[in-house]
Symmetry: C2
Subunit: 606 residues, 2 copies
């Protein structure tokens, strides 16, 4: 199809573009000055200046066509005028070679020259160059049409009511957006129930109208997974299941000569299935090269095990610490779409590899620019909502700044500071022997290192319980009551250390607490488990209880601190954070979360 | 403004997005299998299998909600069934820990969690995650409106007639497209003549309706350059001229509180002015980080001088030779838009630097992906249209392949092979002593190196003259006739060597040829000079004469060869080219250009 130049940006050329006319189309002045005949200037010098009468030169600006009988330009700055009755006489103190400061016809494009190859994705400069070379429209390849077919009894359209057990159709929204980002038109079809006949009819209809059909979910081998069966019966099933994780229950086939991709229902699997299988296919349909992501080398912040026999696509956060890019793996769950949202890059662990050691040098496909990554504050350690609030507020103030926090517990954070894998560790580790927080651990783990500790907040820790506290839990000792189901934090988390301490103080043992072994990784996840009725109680912060409208029984107030190598205190990457901690508006927002005291916020306590 | 999720991709969040509901909203099976109560499985082992009656388990597929009273899932593969009258009894050979293979409520997003910060440019995964977390629409920042105001008496709208001395308005097309690529709305206003009052009125009107006004041309200091004056009188002139090349006559100011950028009229200057000044401003207006380009290190293929006191933005072609990325500078002319079209990267030589030596390691901002660059065939040397045709045909066959040729003359190409700066050198150097082409030069310049030479074509060289050959030029000796204006090729070009040889044979001297010192760098540029009437005659190939509908007086037939390090002959990067040279269709297309013989095309002559 032919499109006008303004509409051609982003499209792919369907034929080579040869220049029809030269640009510039005439010899033109390349400087402001006077146009002269070079032959007339022979002999001019400092000692024998040449005087040109008004009819022997023309004043020209850059871009003006060279007047007839002129073949060179003298820069304004090198001409002196003398007023005479006949008009200004120009004085030259040097001879001028032919074509000095002349932009020749065809300097940019010569007629007949190859301007753009076929299969080229057009950018702004390309269409402008085509226009200069005489094109008024361009033959471009048609944008492929992608049909997205959501299936599943439990899937509900976005925006409508979602009952328990039902799932909103976020995948179709995402896949259609990915298709549009890949330069295609996208159509989202109505949701089909788990009925192979209906799915088959919908696939046939979609295949007739589109260049690629994406069937969402039903690609696995469960009772209600019909995509492979439908493709096999309606056309040709080429592949069912690929050695890629997440995403391995992928279906690839052809129905009525149209390619069909069955995407897994887990959102990360669906997104990566598009990337790995649909995007190259769509690029090939457009006859253009698939856009590959830039890569960087990075140091892995922790050990990463991988199943041999599968390519493992690991989402990572990136930041630059001590002059090296550090990659921290995010959740590997196929259902954790936020791991893709938060990812700065992708690490592919090939099928033949068992994984990587901590500190190993790996290659990362970049999802964000390295300059943004260099302005990322890397926080590893305990989780606190104040860090989330700071991340949002820093970004609002300057869009180039990120704060990326990984929740591995306070102890893990201190280890990360030791190994130069983060800028800051969030910590609230209680030392039961001294009753002091964090500092005794710093002394032990970071002995001999010059480390600073900055107070972030004081915060209330307490029992998060269901609204109205139906079990009447008033103290940590109540956790040992029969039938009270507790939900704990992971090993190394300060809140778990706090529970252990409170139990010991009361002469109780972890074995007395039902659910002690059940681990969640954040305060919000603990509150979520209580809200869902999966547990009756968990230890956590007030703000998490509030987020889920749960009740809260205070247990203690504790300091939450940031641990940082002293040499990094003045690093430019951290300056915006220190400034933020000093802001009254930010402190007010923190107190507004509930359960926080900001009196000592920003104070260096070591 | 609030927009629906499907329309939000590419927009920038105007507020932080916090999760309103958890995703998943319920505990769900993470595997296909059976849901059980973990407590009921205590004690099961290989030696003491546990038998669960039909009412003690539920068959579940991945994603199904966990039924009441179940808290764990056993994978299908680990369950053996035994048929009984009461229904299938499930046999387990291991105890199941609580929450095994259960996807917990909030595993992806917990209600109350920060999902996306303010100022975040939304991608497909972001809107899908927002949908999963309960969002139905998002508050996004308004797209800035950019007004493009073309000015100049000589500027004509695109698509209309362009008389000699007039210039089509390609800059407005390009700047509007750049603004759209930057996520803005763009409006191109009617062209204003060089009249300060009219330009001022148009700038005021545009400022009232837009967030940024780009005034095209008139930013210099020539007679008709009014942008700075208009901005100064209508508002505040902040900057006039910046130390950036190309592009230094930039005007930056404010009119009625709207920023105004005066762009130079040279297209490369205009494009870079947008990149350097407008793009960061527009990103700031959207409150988002400007997209920075990835970078690479590269080896410079030739010396690059730069004016101290100016940042010099050099367009380069890139390719990988002998395992290293090589950067070859393109034309530095501000009017050579094709240098941006052909560029794979930008090299910024900072104001304080005098330039770089050949072979120096430099940092390049990438305009194309490194994987495409690795598949680029780098040809340095003489120019021939067959190389252009090959470039187009290779790209058509496989969009990931490029052939980049730099025209530095045959001799320069052989030096580039010697220094491992290219894969291939195009050469047609005549050795006057032996009458042989190229091989004697290879022996001298590449002595001791294992070099292969592959014939590309034989081609006719001759005198390119105006239609009808009005001066009746029949032989090289006619070039010495009084009043015949010749246009020559640059030093090191094979065609120049040929002229010298033909002159010597006839006992003539270069001094006898008017215009011998006038140099062009390609056959097409020579033909363009003749077509424009700037010269009467030039030596060149028939295809160039044909491109400009000029006449041609044959002088000789010569071989044009490709010189390559023998070790590279089998390199994968070159395989598509050798295949192409063997194709009958390609040979036919070459002969169709006129003046070519492909009888020996692809034959290795050494």
């Amino acid at each position: 199809m032919r499109v006008g130049l303004a509409d051609a940006v982003g499209r792919v050329t369907a034929e080579a573009v040869w220049a029809r006319r030269s640009s510039p189309a005439f010899d033109a002045a390349a400087m402001d000055g006077i146009a002269v005949s070079s032959a007339a200037t022979v002999g001019a010098s400092e000692t024998t200046p040449l005087r040109l009468p008004p009819d022997a030169y023309d004043v020209v600006d850059t871009g003006d066509p060279l007047p007839d009988a002129r073949d060179a330009v003298v820069m304004r700055e090198q001409v002196h005028y003398e007023r005479t009755p006949a008009g200004p006489v120009a004085e030259l103190r040097a001879a001028v070679p032919p074509y000095q400061h002349v932009r020749s016809v065809g300097e940019d494009v010569a007629a007949g020259e190859l301007l753009l190859p076929e299969g080229h994705r057009l950018r702004a400069v390309d269409v402008a160059a085509a226009a200069a070379a005489g094109a008024v429209d361009l033959l471009v390849r048609r944008a492929p049409v992608v049909a997205v077919l959501p299936t599943g009894d439990e899937i509900r359209p976005l925006g409508g009511a979602v009952e328990p057990g039902q799932i909103p159709d976020t995948n179709s929204l995402m896949l259609a957006a990915q298709a549009r980002e890949a330069g295609c038109e996208a159509v989202v079809l109505p949701i089909e129930p788990d009925d192979p006949a209906r799915i088959a009819a919908a696939v046939h209809a979609a295949a007739a109208e589109s260049d690629l059909v994406l069937v969402v979910a039903g690609s696995s081998a469960g009772r209600d997974d019909y995509t492979a069966q439908v493709v096999e019966q309606a056309g040709t099933l080429v592949v069912h299941g690929v050695a890629v994780r997440p995403g391995h229950p992928v279906v690839l086939g052809l129905v009525d000569a149209t390619p069909v991709v069955g995407c897994p229902g887990y959102p990360v699997s669906a997104a990566l299935t598009f990337d790995i299988f649909a995007a190259p296919l769509l690029a090939a349909l457009q006859g253009a090269a698939v856009q590959r992501r830039p890569v960087t080398r990075a140091r892995l912040s922790r050990k990463l095990a991988s199943v041999v026999g599968m390519d493992d696509w690991i989402r990572v956060r990136l930041g630059e610490v001590a002059g090296r890019v550090v990659a921290t793996p995010l959740s590997r769950g196929a259902g954790v779409l936020t791991s893709l949202v938060r990812a700065d890059g992708l690490l592919v662990v090939p099928a033949g590899t068992e994984g990587h050691q901590a500190g190993e040098d790996v290659e990362i496909d970049l999802l964000r620019g390295l300059d943004e990554i260099r302005r990322t504050i890397v926080v590893i350690g305990s989780h606190d909502l104040v860090l989330d609030l700071a991340a949002s507020e820093l970004r609002r103030r300057d869009p180039r700044i990120s704060l990326a926090s990984s929740n591995v517990g306070s102890l893990g954070g201190l280890v990360a500071v030791r190994d130069e894998l983060c800028h800051l560790a969030g910590s609230h580790l209680l030392d039961p022997a001294s009753g002091e927080y964090t500092l005794p651990y710093v002394d032990r783990l970071l002995a001999g290192r010059d480390v600073a500790v900055v107070r972030l907040v004081h915060r209330e820790q307490g029992l998060i319980v269901r609204p109205g506290n139906p079990l009447g839990l008033q103290d940590v000792k109540d956790l040992t009551r029969r039938g009270v189901r507790y939900v704990n934090r992971q090993r190394g988390a300060g809140t778990r250390v706090l529970l252990d301490h409170e139990l010991t103080r009361r002469g109780l043992s972890p074995d007395d607490v039902e659910g002690y072994a059940r681990e969640e990784h954040t305060h919000l996840a603990v509150a979520g488990a209580v809200a869902a009725g999966r547990a009756d109680c968990g230890l956590g912060i007030l703000a998490a209880a509030r987020a889920y409208a749960l009740d809260f029984v205070p247990v203690t107030t504790e300091p939450y601190d940031l641990v940082v190598t002293a040499g990094l205190l003045d690093a430019p990457v951290l300056a915006p954070l220190w400034e933020l901690l000093g802001s009254a508006a930010f402190r007010a927002a923190v107190e507004g979360l509930g359960g926080y005291c900001t009196e000592e916020t920003g104070r260096r306590i070591r």
